[in-house]
C-alpha cells in the first residue's frame, strides 16, 4: 500500500509540474495551498469514508448530513443560541444521523448502500422541508474569518482537516480498534469468530462519519456564510472518488489515509489546473472519471501481477478484487 501511495504522489507531482509549466501563477504557495480550501469539507468527510470503506461498508448520505447539520447550525443560531452551542448542536446532529445509519446497518443488518441511499434522500428532504428552501446567513465574524482567512497562506480549515487526519491515522494504524477495521473488511465472518465486536465497531464508524459531516458543515457555513438545504449537493461523489483514487477499494480490507489525502490533492490540483486552462466543466468530469478508472485499474493490475509471482510472502491481501 505504501508503494501505491508513493506512486500516487509521483503522479500528483507530475500533474503539478504539468500545470505549472502551462499556467503562470500555478506554482506559487498561495495557489497550491489556496486551492485546498475548496475540498476541505470533502476532505473531512472522506476521512470518515476511508475508515468505512476499509471496514467494507459505505455511507452515501454524507453530503445530505452536511446539509441538515448546517441547517441546525444556522437555525439555532438565528433563534438566539450562541454560536459555540450551535456548532455543538450541528456536531450532535451529525452523530445522530450517523447513529441512525449505524443502527440499520450494524444491528439490523440492512445493506449499507440501501440504507444510506435512503437516508441520503431522507436527510436532504428533511433539510428542504424544514426550511422550504430558505437560507440563513449573517454568522459572526469569527466564524467567517475561520472559513475565509489564512495564516502564512495556510487556510484555517486546513488545520482542522490536518488534526482530524492525524487523529484518524493514529486510530487506524496504532490502535486495536483500527486493526479490527481491517479484520472486518477482510472477512466479516472470520472477524466475528475471532471475537471482534463487529456490530459495535460498524456502529461506531457510522457515528464517526456523521461527526465528520457535522464538522464539515461547520467549515461549509464558515466558508460561505450560508446555511442551506442544498449545501454540498452531490459532494458524496467527490468524497468517494478521493478515497477510491487513494487506493481504498470498495470491497474493504485494505486502504490508507495517506492514499486518500493524495487522492484529495490530485482532485483539487486537477480541478484548479483545468479551471485555469479553461477546460469546460463537462470535459473535466470526463477527465477525472478517466483518471479514476486508470487508478483503479492500476491497482488491479498490480494485484494480479503479484499473484503470478511465486507466493513467498505468505497470503495476498484479501478482498481487493
Amino acid at each position: 500500500m505504501v508503494t501505491r501511495s508513493l506512486f500516487l504522489i509521483i503522479v500528483w507531482l507530475l500533474l503539478v509540474a504539468f500545470f505549472s509549466a502551462l499556467t503562470p501563477g500555478y506554482l506559487t504557495v498561495n495557489n497550491l495551498l489556496g486551492m485546498t480550501r475548496h475540498l476541505t469539507e470533502v476532505g473531512i468527510m472522506s476521512i470518515g469514508m476511508t475508515l468505512l470503506l476499509i471496514a467494507g461498508t459505505i455511507d452515501l448520505s454524507v453530503a445530505s448530513q452536511l446539509a441538515l447539520a448546517s441547517i441546525v447550525l444556522g437555525w439555532t443560531y438565528r433563534w438566539g443560541c450562541p454560536i459555540e452551542l450551535s456548532i455543538v448542536l450541528a456536531l450532535m446532529t451529525g452523530m445522530t444521523m450517523g447513529s441512525l445509519n449505524g443502527l440499520f446497518v450494524a444491528f439490523l443488518r440492512f445493506p449499507a448502500v440501501v440504507v444510506t441511499l435512503a437516508t441520503m434522500a431522507l436527510f436532504r428532504g428533511l433539510a428542504m422541508g424544514l426550511t422550504g428552501g430558505a437560507k440563513v446567513s449573517g454568522f459572526p465574524d469569527g466564524l467567517i474569518q475561520f472559513g475565509q482567512g489564512q495564516i502564512f497562506f495556510i487556510p484555517y480549515p486546513l488545520f482542522l482537516f490536518g488534526a482530524i487526519a492525524l487523529l484518524a491515522g493514529f486510530a487506524l494504524h496504532r490502535t486495536v480498534w483500527g486493526r479490527y477495521l481491517f479484520a472486518i473488511g477482510a472477512g466479516e465472518t472470520a472477524a466475528r469468530f475471532s471475537g471482534v465486536p463487529v456490530n459495535g465497531i460498524r456502529f461506531s464508524l457510522f457515528v464517526l462519519s456523521g461527526l465528520c459531516s457535522g464538522l464539515a458543515s461547520v467549515v461549509y457555513v464558515a466558508r460561505f456564510n450560508t446555511a442551506k438545504a442544498d449545501a454540498a449537493m452531490a459532494a458524496e461523489m467527490d468524497v468517494i472518488t478521493a478515497a477510491l483514487l487513494g487506493g481504498t477499494p470498495l470491497t474493504g480490507g485494505t486502504g490508507t489515509l495517506l492514499g486518500t489525502i493524495v487522492g484529495l490533492l490530485l482532485l483539487s490540483s486537477l480541478r484548479r489546473g483545468l479551471d485555469l486552462m479553461v477546460v469546460g466543466t463537462e470535459q473535466q468530469a470526463v477527465i477525472i472519471g478517466a483518471i479514476l478508472i486508470v487508478a483503479v485499474a492500476a491497482g488491479q493490475v498490480s494485484v494480479s501481477f503479484r499473484r503470478l509471482l511465486p507466493l513467498k510472502r505468505g497470503k495476498e491481501p484479501e478482498g481487493v478484487l
Binding site: N31, G34, G133, F224, M233, D275, L276, T281, E282
Partner: protein
C-alpha cells in the same frame, strides 16, 4: 532643433498625462463571464450576445465558463481560481447572493473589476449589476397584458414558484399594488405555489379552474408555472376563455402560443443581456461607467439607463404569435 525637442517632450508629457487619466481606455482586456449554469438555452443565448459584443468591440477577450449544475460552490471555486490569472473583469450570474460575496470581495481586493448580470450578489461585493428588468417593469407588463386580454375588471389568479423565491415575491408585491392603483376592479382570487414543478403547476391551476368558476385570467410567474398553467387551461378546454399571461422562455411557450391558449409571453432578451454585460465591462475599464454616470452607450442597443449601481436593459420583451418563432431560447 531644440524647440522641436521641447515640443516633442511636451507632447509626450501631455499624452502620458492623458494615458494616465484614461487608464485602460481602449486597451485589450480579458473578461471572464460565469453563468449560473452552462448549457441551457437561456444562458446559451446570453453567451451568444456576449460573443457578439466582444467581436464587435474587437479589444475584449471573452472567456465564458460556468458550472454544469447551478452550484454556488463551484462558482466560488472558479472565481478563486481566476484570482491567480487576474483577468480585468469578472462578470457573474450568481447562484446565491450571499455565499458568493466573499469570493467576489477577494476578487475586488485583487484589483479585478467585478460585475454581476442576470442575478445579483450583495451590493458591496460587486461594482455594477446589469439588470435585465426591474421588478416594476415586469410587474406592470404582466398586469397591463392581463387587463388587455381578460379585461380590466377580470377575476384573476396567480400561480407562483414558491412563497420564498425572491424574484417571485418581489414581482407579486408590485403586481398587487399596481393592480390596486391602475385596475381597482381587477380581483385577485388566489395565489398558489407550484415550487419548481410544471406538474404541480398543472395541478394547482386545474384546482383553481374548478374552485373559481368565474376566473378569467391566470398569471404564471415562473418559467415552469407558466407552461403548467397553460397546459391546465388547455386540458380544461378553456383555451381562449381564460387568459394565461406569464414569464417564460419563448421556446417553452411556443406550442401554447400556436394552440391559442397563450397570446403573450413576457421576458427580456437574454442575447441583449449578454451583449450589454460585455459593453458594461468595457466601459468600466475605460472609465466611462462609474458611480454617478446616468447613461451607457451600448453598441446596437443604443443608450442605456444607469441607475445608481445598476445598468438597466430596459423594458421587457413581448413574444406573440407573430415573432415567437424567431427565437431559440
Amino acid at each position: 532643433m531644440s524647440r522641436l525637442g521641447t515640443m516633442l517632450l511636451v507632447l509626450v508629457l501631455v499624452s502620458l498625462f492623458f494615458l494616465h487619466l484614461f487608464g485602460q481606455k481602449g486597451k485589450p482586456i480579458t473578461v471572464v463571464m460565469i453563468p449560473k449554469i452552462k448549457g441551457i438555452d437561456y444562458f446559451n443565448a446570453c453567451e451568444r450576445g456576449a460573443k457578439e459584443a466582444a467581436k464587435e468591440l474587437g479589444n475584449v477577450q471573452l472567456i465564458y465558463e460556468g458550472p454544469t449544475e447551478a452550484s454556488v460552490e463551484r462558482q466560488v471555486e472558479m472565481i478563486e481560481a481566476w484570482l491567480i490569472r487576474k483577468p480585468d473583469v469578472i462578470a457573474v450570474a450568481c447562484n446565491d447572493p450571499t455565499a458568493i460575496a466573499p469570493a467576489l470581495k477577494k476578487a475586488l481586493q485583487a484589483g479585478i473589476k467585478v460585475i454581476t448580470y442576470d442575478a445579483d450578489a450583495r451590493r458591496d461585493a460587486r461594482l455594477f449589476f446589469v439588470n435585465q428588468a426591474t421588478y416594476e417593469d415586469i410587474a406592470h407588463a404582466l398586469v397591463d397584458t392581463m387587463a388587455k386580454e381578460a379585461g380590466p375588471d377580470a377575476p384573476v389568479a396567480v400561480v407562483t414558484s414558491s412563497f420564498t423565491a425572491p424574484n417571485q415575491t418581489e414581482w407579486l408585491k408590485r403586481m398587487k399594488s399596481y393592480m390596486a392603483k391602475k385596475y381597482p376592479k381587477m380581483r385577485l382570487l388566489t395565489v398558489k405555489p407550484s415550487e419548481e414543478s410544471m406538474e404541480l403547476a398543472l395541478r394547482v391551476t386545474t384546482d383553481i379552474l374548478r374552485a373559481y368558476r368565474d376566473v378569467q385570467g391566470v398569471f404564471g410567474i415562473s418559467s415552469v408555472a407558466f407552461p403548467g398553467a397553460a397546459e391546465a387551461v388547455l386540458q380544461a378546454g378553456k383555451a381562449g376563455k381564460v387568459a394565461v399571461v406569464g414569464l417564460s422562455t419563448p421556446k417553452t411557450m411556443k406550442p401554447y402560443v400556436h394552440k391559442g391558449v397563450v397570446k403573450t409571453v413576457i421576458l427580456w432578451n437574454p442575447v441583449d443581456l449578454g451583449y450589454l454585460t460585455i459593453y458594461a465591462a468595457r466601459a468600466l475599464c475605460d472609465g466611462t461607467l462609474k458611480k454617478g454616470v446616468r447613461h451607457l452607450q451600448a453598441g446596437r442597443l443604443g443608450k442605456k439607463v444607469v441607475r445608481d449601481d445598476e445598468v438597466l436593459l430596459g423594458p421587457p420583451m413581448f413574444f406573440t404569435k407573430k415573432n415567437i418563432d424567431r427565437y431559440d431560447f
